[in-house]
């Protein structure tokens, strides 16, 4: 079995990003999972046992003073170093803003081939095959790389399997970072997620609100229903643009793609770009005052009605059933 490198992203305060479990699970399907982390000198050892629990057979700790100062180059050098040392069969990174930058520059550095936004991976006769979901799930495409190492970005939330835990070997190496070809990080503003709600991309139920909610204050109704259902909150682009919620909650073509068991669209017209991000949900419910809204074309249960009367009644009915 060949080594499969995974780039594990780490926050500025040293926590593993939540993309780590799925990346290691994907790597375990292809070979021996190796977790590669770029950290400031002396700070990597603490991560090793956590990564072992997530399935890493080996943890490759690349140390550089430039971590957190130089935009993505320490992460790239970490992978270049691990690639030279371990001759892996593939490199997996998250399809995140950081992961994409790393994959892009690494593919050029290693003369590899890119497989972007994979929703699954598998090995077939020693070839790494990635599955892609194109145009909002309208097409499923399988692709592979010829003539170079496959570098795969994995869509967050798409792979639900988890790898068996392992006791990893740990390698610590220094890496040189050429800061000349890199942007500089001046400040990090991580959003502290204080919410107890599930994350949008892997929630079982998503309640989304659109421009029909009318204001930031009134968008609270979406949150109330989400909490009654233990669901994640999502939004249309129009709701984000109007400032009702932050961009990280946008569902659609240029936002997050979700595929929950239940998707409830409140005051959302169902523009094709919104549908591209949610139309593979198992069950779709829509509430909209306009009987001709295109969201009804894909809804399993549609209500032509006002969210401000239907939703409070729904919440009451849900709570009544609980008791």
């Amino acid at each position: 079995m060949s080594n499969i490198l995974t780039l594990i992203e780490v926050s500025s305060t040293g926590e593993l990003r939540n993309t780590a479990p799925a990346l290691l699970a994907a790597a375990a399907k292809l070979g021996t999972p190796v977790a590669v982390v770029a950290v400031k000198p002396g700070t990597g050892a603490a991560l090793a046992s956590q990564l072992g629990e997530l399935g890493a057979s080996q943890v490759y700790v690349a140390e550089s003073d430039q971590v957190g100062a130089s935009l993505v180059s320490p992460e790239i050098e970490a992978l270049v170093s691990a690639h030279a040392a371990l001759s892996p069969g593939a490199v997996l990174v998250a399809h995140s803003v950081t992961g994409r930058d790393v994959a892009a520059r690494l593919a050029v550095r290693l003369a590899g081939g890119l497989l972007i936004d994979a929703v699954d991976v598998r090995l077939d006769a020693d070839q790494v095959i990635a599955t892609h979901s194109i145009f909002g799930g309208a097409y499923t495409v399988e692709a592979a790389v010829q003539g170079g190492i496959p570098i795969v970005t994995v869509r967050s939330g798409a792979i639900q399997e988890r790898a068996k835990s392992a006791t990893p070997t740990v390698t610590v190496v220094p890496v040189d970072v050429d800061s000349g070809a890199s942007a500089v990080i001046d400040a990090v503003h991580d959003v502290v997620v204080s919410s107890t709600r599930p994350e949008l991309r892997d929630a079982k139920t998503v309640v989304s609100g659109g421009r029909g909610l009318g204001s930031k204050e009134k968008f609270e109704l979406v949150t109330q229903l989400a909490d009654a259902l233990g669901a994640a909150v999502g939004a249309s682009r129009a709701a984000v643009d109007a400032g009702y919620v932050s961009q990280t909650l946008q569902v659609g073509q240029t936002g997050t793609t979700v595929a929950p068991a239940l998707y409830i669209a409140l005051g959302i017209s169902g523009a094709i770009q919104h549908r591209a991000g949610m139309q593979t949900a198992k069950t779709i419910v829509a509430i909209n005052t306009d009987a001709d809204a295109p969201i009804f074309d894909i809804a399993d249960f549609g209500i032509v009605g006002d969210v401000f009367t239907v939703v409070p009644q729904l919440i009451e009915a849900i709570n009544a059933r609980r008791h």
């Binding site: 935009l71 995140s96 803003v97 994409r100 930058d101 892009a104 520059r105 593919a107 050029v108 550095r109 003369a111 590899g112 081939g113 890119l114 497989l115 972007i116 936004d117 145009f135 309208a138 097409y139 499923t140 495409v141 399988e142 592979a144 790389v145 010829q146 170079g148 890199s182 942007a183 990080i185 001046d186 400040a187 503003h189 991580d190 959003v191 682009r237 990280t248 073509q253 240029t254 239940l262 094709i272 770009q273 591209a276 139309q279 593979t280 069950t283 779709i284 894909i298 809804a299 399993d300 249960f301 209500i303 032509v304 009605g305 239907v310 009644q313 729904l314 009915a317 849900i318 059933r321």
Partner: protein, 256 residues
């Protein structure tokens, strides 16, 4: 300052977009080709800088088939000075690696201080071309920028990630990509539309560029399958009891 905006033409997201089931390549006949909305926002970043810095030279660069001319003309009518169109039958179906190599060669041939791209295109959702080009040219990249400040020697901005934002900067020359949080593009005016007809579009073929021969990995498509379209289900008109009915529907499906 010489700014190049990377222009990509994509199928209109308002139309139905299709892949050719045999090859997995975009069916260009299925929907209208338009300038990607994110590229228009990238262009607006450049135009608003040009508004206050009259000596800015603004060039559009696109790689793609013949109809790309329409998108380039639109960009010229909005205020770009000239355009470069890389067009070659050998580039049909080019993968990311090849596209980045060709764009890098065309950028070098054209010369620039700053390159502005979109963060990800609406057809591919790759979002990797700008960083790939930066690596080829050994330049810093600032991708996924919500807001940008351009000075003579540097650029800075707020980079949007899944976990928050980063304040970042880089010395020029550099490559940046902007997100859909950047302002929408202005409307073309009559003078701009008339003027665009006289602005030059340079067409380059592969033989005009020194593109390194392909020694790197490339992706191949193994299969393409179509998912059946979704059908509409039950639709009721609220008569005062719809919330209760919905709760029943959800309970019947074990969704609550």
């Amino acid at each position: 300052m010489k700014i190049i905006v990377l222009v990509k033409q994509v199928p209109d997201t308002y139309d139905e977009r299709k892949l050719d089931p045999a090859t997995g390549i975009l069916d260009r006949e299925a929907s209208e080709a338009i300038i990607d909305e994110i590229v228009e926002r990238a262009l607006e970043v450049a135009l608003s800088y040009k508004d206050s810095h009259q000596d800015t030279e603004l060039v559009l660069l696109s790689m793609g088939p013949e109809p790309v001319t329409t998108s380039l003309r639109k960009g010229l009518s909005l205020g770009a000075d000239s355009a470069v169109h890389v067009r070659d039958d050998d580039l049909s179906g080019a993968d990311l690696t090849r596209t980045a190599a060709v764009l890098a060669a065309a950028l070098t041939a054209t010369g620039f201080d700053l390159v502005i791209a979109g963060n990800e295109s609406t057809d591919g959702r790759g979002g990797v071309i700008p960083a790939m080009v930066a690596e080829r040219l050994h330049l810093p990249h600032l991708t996924s920028i919500d807001s940008v400040e351009i000075t003579d020697a540097a650029i800075s901005g707020e980079r949007e990630t899944e976990n928050g934002t980063l304040t970042v900067h880089a010395a020029l020359p550099a490559i940046i990509s902007i997100t859909e949080r950047a302002p929408e593009v202005r409307f073309p005016n009559f003078k701009g539309i008339m003027g665009a007809k006289k602005k030059p579009i340079t067409v380059l073929s592969l033989s005009d560029l020194s593109v390194a021969p392909e020694a790197s990995g490339h992706s191949i498509i193994l299969s393409t399958t179509v998912r059946p379209a979704r059908a509409a289900g039950k639709k009721i008109i609220d008569d005062g009891n719809a919330g209760v009915e919905l709760a029943e529907f959800l309970a019947a499906g074990h969704l609550i």
